[in-house]
Subunit: 330 residues, 4 copies
């Protein structure tokens, strides 16, 4: 008997097969300068090289790497890699993709990663999905007594703690959002709808407001191989570090895009900066708010308050950042 | 074919049936003073009264209430209430409890909550589980343009944002931890083992390091109806607010227990204070670290570093707080 | 003999006769709304009324008041009041003013202030100078155990701690700066010179970078009785409070002008907001840098870096704020 | 006529001859480790070597150095060096010392400093006083566009900004305080008096609450050449940096003495740590409160609230730190 009342068995239960954003690959025409940015300013560590690629991790990233920097003539984004909740979940998700007519291509995986299933979203972004990862093991001298910290806090720059999320520029937000919801189990958390068109969507598989966002682009660049990245984001956990980073970036001649400020969507404290290779990097100062409500109803920003969706307070948006931008600022 | 290699079908997949800590009930011999603390100092709002009980919520709690304060002669803890991930999950969990020989008792639920299944853990704490909740609807004048904020930021005290977690004092940490793991799907994130005895365990159903912790108690009080609470915790998101709160508490004559400081386990910035009714309240300044690794291996603090588990930096522990304490400080 | 080498007796020693900014008077066409802003949002207390004026102080202001709000049809600034270092210093400064041909007019002083010498700067702003002040005495219930805090930390809004500085809009920065240097002993700390014209000057009598700044205005309004105020500023001491205040202002519908951000000149973290009466109010999050060097050489920002002088990082300037603005934003 | 009322010509005007704490010399038995601490962890730069001494400065220290580390078998303090407000002030102060029977000994000055007058306080500490200093000039690549910053923000550790104050352990607080007041013009800001004995005194020549404090010592060590230093302090300006520093110190095995916390006296956020050479170093997270009142009445902490004088909130004092300690913790 157990439950003494009828249960709604038609309720669509959430899918927990995708667990987290494991790594992101970006392209850089100036790999050395890009590495200087991530290691000397953001305190990340190099964990391997492979052909034209360099692997990096932040000091509280647990795996072999969270960032892969690959040489290309233009900045842009390569693979966006997800880890599933179990080996079985990897099987279920790849089967679901194929059942939905999405081509899945298996490969051996990058350094530090096991077999990976690649597939392409409607916007042309390559996603990858895997279960096996290598854990980072610090050398003795770098081991922290803080058990949850895989490596001592670095003594360089203003060190970021972990990869947070990625934002893809797409031509059709709705199509891409539905692709991620239907195939990978992402939940829509917040979005922007102006003039009956979906201009942005924040989606997650965890209490984070997003591991991935989609932002509408009318530049045409997002379809190509060297575009399509609005930004990737690393996490501090403390808003003061955004001020420290902004101070450092200004002192060392980096181009701050916008911020520090607070987003309406996600509520997170943010700072956007361009790394020397031309990719926009976001730094998250805190966690914003977390979503524990299992029946979360997506929050939709419309004409009425869209100005508050990206900037709750802080710097105004610049034109290049604005939705439906005419060009991608690099 | 999909996955071109054998999948380990014996891998035990995580259970996501329990979604979040929905509310906690505490007992207070001085309800008016307790309410003053939570409303004037922590900026919470009263959302209803019922017999000897008053319901409260923080300004970013989405439901009717997250805290129930009930009059009793002694401070202590009443029900710890969990929301499941779906109505079906509520059914599965209550069936699982009964299958494991745990008595489940259904009742109509508190103000703002639907039918609830009560059951008792080995330590004698009453847990409750439900699916249906009433969402808080702010009056027009209190509505925020920040869509994820159900109510404007209060202008009183140093306002907390949401309920975070609860810590039960128990006689047998291992027995209670296994009860929560086996019946509710909690994952062990960190624990303390000294002299071959498990002295503390932090468990969660989400990327938070814990929604519930168990702390060993040798006072004998934890078995009774007026003991058993080490603390309940509310969340700020910004470490500075711990400093503001500590300043306010000192100015207004409250008893700060320990902090501000940083925990080793959870990595969170903390502050412990006793509310006037005698219950220890923790304030969390940030989110600490989050666990996205689906194959997380529990971190165990032993004799070697146990001093760093509770206090990574900041105030030393006082004797009353220490594990295996001889009395519960109230 | 004492000093075994020749001392340069021609060195011009600094003058320490003026000690601090004691209070500022502003005009408001909406006194009630202005009071709501300063009391409910900034946590200030009313300390008296007198005709069309209301007196206010922040919780770490030591005297009877630091702010006087007077009803007028238009927003603007009334008296800027300085306290001298001693009664003798008051005599010396008023004599110096007269010797320099500046008319000095004595009056009884406002509530809580002793005899005051009024005089007018070249820009038409009324300054006042005094020695005697009444100290604030908190009622027993409001007394803090923190000896340097004349009153408990308020439980309202995001409370400011003390008056910091004032910024006058002037037609001729150089003339006004020299007036303050020659008559009152102010030291020039930083200034902006573009196109050979001095556009801004920050001056102080203490290690603060400024108790008063002058900003060039081409609106013509600064000459009148209802203009001439660029902003007055209150101090928090903690940058996080700027974020809290920005969040509060946005939630409660106030108009944030620019910020939060960090000034180049002064290095202080700032936030500008318009109070409902139409006056721009600055909030200082920290102390910026302090000048202890007794031989400080003024720092001059020129075309090369003028963009960094007001905004080191954070929001860009809006047009109305910009130097030589065509109108004063109210 | 000027002032139309009698001025109290007997009022004792403040003396502004001493302007600032210019530098402090400490002794270290482990110079290399001490340098590692100040450069790698606190981000200071070496600016010269001279015999057994190494000179250091923080990135917002304007002169050649603010810290001199000299090899000795035991930790301790060397010269405490003050800069006067003018060359004439240097003459006046040295004459005053001699007139009061204090021996003044002139020497050429350290690297980067002009002729200096040495004299010894009743507690046996060597003070030095000078006018001429060399300003630090950064190499082109290290120059900041932030005019008030003599050098770019370092990319090492959690960099301190400037020297703040020094705290001398003395056998007789009252005698030493009066010496500093009578000879150098220090003003008493706060003190502790327990059992009719003055146990601590905070004194300044500026709006800072102190550039020097005296703390009672009963160890007998303060009379010797290798004792007498309670701590020297560097300044961050942002409380978060204390948390960052505490995290770093814990991760790198340094011994945190007490903190982070907030002082009652000074109101400053603090953190005490022992550098590897055995000297206690304080880090100041903010400026606390500033004293602009020219007629400031010293605040005296007595038995009633002495516990709040050193710790307003945060870590309790440890025994070694406590007033009248039996030994100095090194």
């Amino acid at each position: 008997m157990s439950v003494p009342f009828p249960i709604d068995e038609t309720y669509v239960e959430p899918n927990f097969d995708v667990a987290q954003l494991a790594s992101v690959e970006i392209f850089s025409p100036k790999v050395d300068e890009t590495l200087w940015f991530f290691t000397e300013l953001l305190g990340m560590s190099e964990s391997g090289r492979d052909g034209d690629s360099v692997y990096l991790r932040a000091y509280e990233d647990y795996y072999h790497h969270s960032l892969k920097v690959t040489y290309r003539n233009e900045p842009g984004i390569g693979r966006t890699t997800w880890r599933t909740s179990s080996p079985q979940a990897l099987g279920r998700r790849s089967s679901a993709l194929e059942a939905n007519g999405v081509a899945v291509s298996w490969r051996d995986g990058d350094l530090g990663q096991g077999p990976a299933a690649d597939f392409v979203s409607p916007s042309g972004h390559t996603h990858s999905m895997l279960w096996e990862v290598d854990y980072y093991e610090a050398p003795e001298s770098e081991r922290s007594r803080l058990l949850s910290r895989p490596q001592k806090r670095p003594l360089k720059g203003v060190p970021v703690r972990r990869l947070d999320h990625v934002n893809h520029l797409v031509d059709d937000v709705t199509a891409n959002r539905e692709f991620l919801q239907d195939n990978l189990g992402f939940r829509l958390r917040e979005n922007i709808v102006v003039q009956q068109r979906e201009a942005a969507a924040w989606m997650s598989v965890s209490p984070l407001v997003h591991e991935i966002a989609n932002l509408a682009d009318r530049t045409g660049r997002s379809a190509g191989g060297n575009g399509g990245l609005h930004h990737l984001a690393f996490w501090y956990g403390f808003p003061q570090h955004l001020l420290d980073a902004a101070d450092m970036f200004t002192d060392y001649g980096l181009t701050i895009d916008i911020g520090p400020g607070k987003h309406g969507a996600t509520q997170a404290q943010f700072l956007y900066v361009f790394e020397p290779g031309g990719n926009r990097v976001e730094l998250f100062g805190d966690v914003g708010y977390l979503i524990f409500d299992p029946a979360w109803k997506p929050l939709t920003w419309t004409e009425k308050d869209v100005d508050k969706s990206l900037i709750w307070y802080g710097s105004p948006l610049n034109r290049e950042f604005t939705l439906f931008s005419d060009r991608v600022a690099v």
